[in-house]
Amino acid sequence: MNIAPFIRSRPLGKVYVPTVTLSHGGGGKAMKDLIDDVFVEAFDNAALAPLEDQARFDLAELAAHGDRLAFTTDSFVVDPLFFPGGDIGKLAVCGTINDLAVGGAKPLYLSCAAIVEEGTTIDLLRQIAGSMARTAKDGGVEIVTGDTKVVQRGACDKLFLTTTGIGVIREGVILGAHLARPGDVVLVNGLLGDHGAAILCARGDMALETPIESDCAPLHGLIETLLAAAPGVRFLRDPTRGGVATVLNEIADASQVAIEIDEAATPIREEVKAFCEILGLDPLYLANEGKIVAIVPPEEVEAALAAMRAHPLGTSAGAIGRAHAGEAGRVTMRTVFGGRRIVDMLVGEQLPRIC
């Protein structure tokens, strides 16, 4: 990183009150102190340090990673902020890393915009910022710019985050939802539906106690390994909201192929299955935050599976289905029972049935 050496002209500000008030959003010293204490302290890096209105990059350094820039943004409003397996901060970093990585990009820099409700505790913000910093460090990315707004009570729910990311795509990597062909195999890197089930449980409305943890994880390492072992991979996507079913429908539609998945081969944790049975949910539509759906040509399936299974985030990887030349855009499932059914796009929110 070629950034002009910067000498900090003053020590970082510090917040001495326990909660955020509207004065922390006023643009004055209180805001400066909040940003310093919470975010700059946690994210500490050379690009952020000058606290300019923008981070600045050397183009030649970016170009050394590949020939195309990848650019993405995502907002996070998860409730609750802390849940088994993660928190909104970890989610915000992983989510944007993954959105870059599934395009074949090496994630490099993130921004972080926070909308904070007055009354939120400074400690909570410090915890979230700390979680973001750890996740970014582990993932090898830097949070280089940000913004903080404070809104009055009720105008947001404690904390909303937006992260934007920049990455670079290596020469020769071409992935697209329209590239699936009949015969291609659908792979996933592990157990499906954990995140959605963990969040619903953590909300506490269901009065169900389960050991299910969110699968929230940065996937670029796994994807790099996968693309090295199976360079012919046609398409990757992280099946977040809407789950695997939604992603498969998008692929079938964009590629004008039919896709059939095999329920018996679809890896789902027993606890998630039970959770879905009780609440009348379909795990295929539950959100994941550490999973990929990969469309792989048949000749590379073995190499792709071996590569994923050798990675800590892919030990339960498996082939769940296949694209074929049936009715274009149609996704079907061979059920465990031996029947066939259509797997359509989800309409609205997946609400539990009542009887």
Binding site: T335, V336, L351, P352
Partner: protein, 376 residues
């Protein structure tokens, strides 16, 4: 998963399908008039689609998806009443999730929530009572909905509220009862049904005796069925066997859950709290005598219909909807004029497109493999 996988065993399913095929092949089923078996309960409809059971059956059998989805048969006027209660500033309106999307003439509960009404999704009426305890300054109204399956839990919640002297809790009672509805279907002149799969959960409460008239008077076989796919296949086989042998009996395939005499404690709570309404309006089926219940006078203080002024305006079903004909098995969902065009799960026009248990929504969502095979 223990106790579930056993009932989803594909090897056993193949045996049952072979048995069903063998049985049907000995029966003289006309080419243009397949046997129509109605599953009354929405839970069965869901299982049938979820596991792709329709596509496994021989073409001489057609399943007709009945009226057993309480959300689907809720008339528009009642949804309007819900919205009007929910929009009162003092009210917290607690409802099962399914009911949120049901369209009223002005808006659904979900739209009312977006417009500022305090509508909360609950999983049990007891959750609604807890909200009432925690918000003594607000009026909490629970949207009581469903057949005999959910009727007892609403009744017990009212009894609980009474014993705790909770005064800010009431129920907007839309509970309905299955037997008069089956009778109404059997009485319809365009009826094309040869047998019934009886509702498992309802029967767990009411037992099997209330269905005797179906066998004795209307001479139709009825098998009370469980909800797992093997339960459903076995029950279809049992119905076929009755048809083949010229019998019309009430049989209980789901004996592991359904006692023939029902659940005495649940029935006691039900009869203590509710009484039959003279008639109740159903979407798609019109007004059916004695098909709904209301709270008895002793529980008037928990009755939202008496606590609040509600519009109580009857709204006719949209003319283009053919829900009634689908419910009675006269046409298949995709034969309806507006299926998939003017009526979709995003913008449901008719009742059956609303809940995932509604026949049309199930076809739209999970698709009928048979339907697609027929179209190809």
């Amino acid at each position: 998963m223990k106790y579930l996988d056993e009932f989803r065993d594909s090897a056993k399913a193949r045996i049952l399908v072979t048995e069903i095929e063998a049985l049907v092949s000995t029966m003289d089923v006309p080419h243009d008039r397949p046997l129509h078996i109605m599953e009354v309960c929405g839970g069965h409809t869901h299982s049938i689609f979820r596991f792709g059971i329709e596509g496994m059956l021989p073409k001489q059998i057609e399943l007709v998806h009945g009226p057993g989805c309480p959300v689907c048969v809720l008339p528009m006027g009642r949804v309007d009443d819900c919205v009007s209660i929910a929009e009162r500033p003092e009210v917290i309106f607690a409802t099962f999730g399914d009911a949120m999307r049901v369209p009223g003439s002005r808006k659904s509960l979900m739209q009312a929530k977006a417009d500022g009404a305090d509508v909360r999704m609950v999983y049990s009426p007891l959750d609604a009572l807890a909200i009432a305890r925690n918000n003594p300054a607000r009026e909490v109204v629970f949207f009581g909905l469903g057949f005999e399956t959910t009727m007892p839990s609403t009744a017990l919640t009212i009894l609980q509220a009474e014993s705790e002297h909770v005064t800010n809790f009431s129920v907007f009672c839309n509970h309905i009862t299955i037997v008069p509805t089956i009778k109404a279907i059997l009485d319809s002149p365009d009826l094309k049904l040869d047998g019934f799969l009886g509702p498992g959960h309802v029967s767990m409460v009411i037992g099997t005796a209330p269905y005797e008239f179906i066998a004795n008077f209307y001479r139709k076989p009825m098998v009370v069925a469980g909800f797992e796919p093997l339960d459903i296949l076995q029950s279809i086989w049992m119905v076929l066997k009755q048809i083949k042998e010229g019998r019309a009996d009430v049989e209980n395939q789901y004996a592991r859950v359904v006692p023939d005499e029902g659940n005495a404690a649940a029935l006691h709570a039900v009869s203590r709290v509710y009484e039959l309404r003279e008639f109740f309006e159903w979407r798609g089926l019109g007004s059916i005598d004695h098909s709904g219940v209301k709270l008895r006078d002793e529980y008037a203080q928990f009755d939202a219909e008496r606590k609040f002024t509600i519009p109580n305006v009857k709204i006719a079903d949209p003319k283009s909807c053919q829900c009634g004909e689908v419910l009675k098995g006269v046409i298949k969902p995709w034969q309806c004029k507006v299926f998939g065009s003017a009526c979709t799960p995003e913008m449901p026009l008719g009742a059956l497109m609303v809940s995932s248990e509604g026949a049309c929504a199930a076809y739209y969502q999970y698709g009928g493999i048979k339907q697609h095979a027929a179209a190809e």
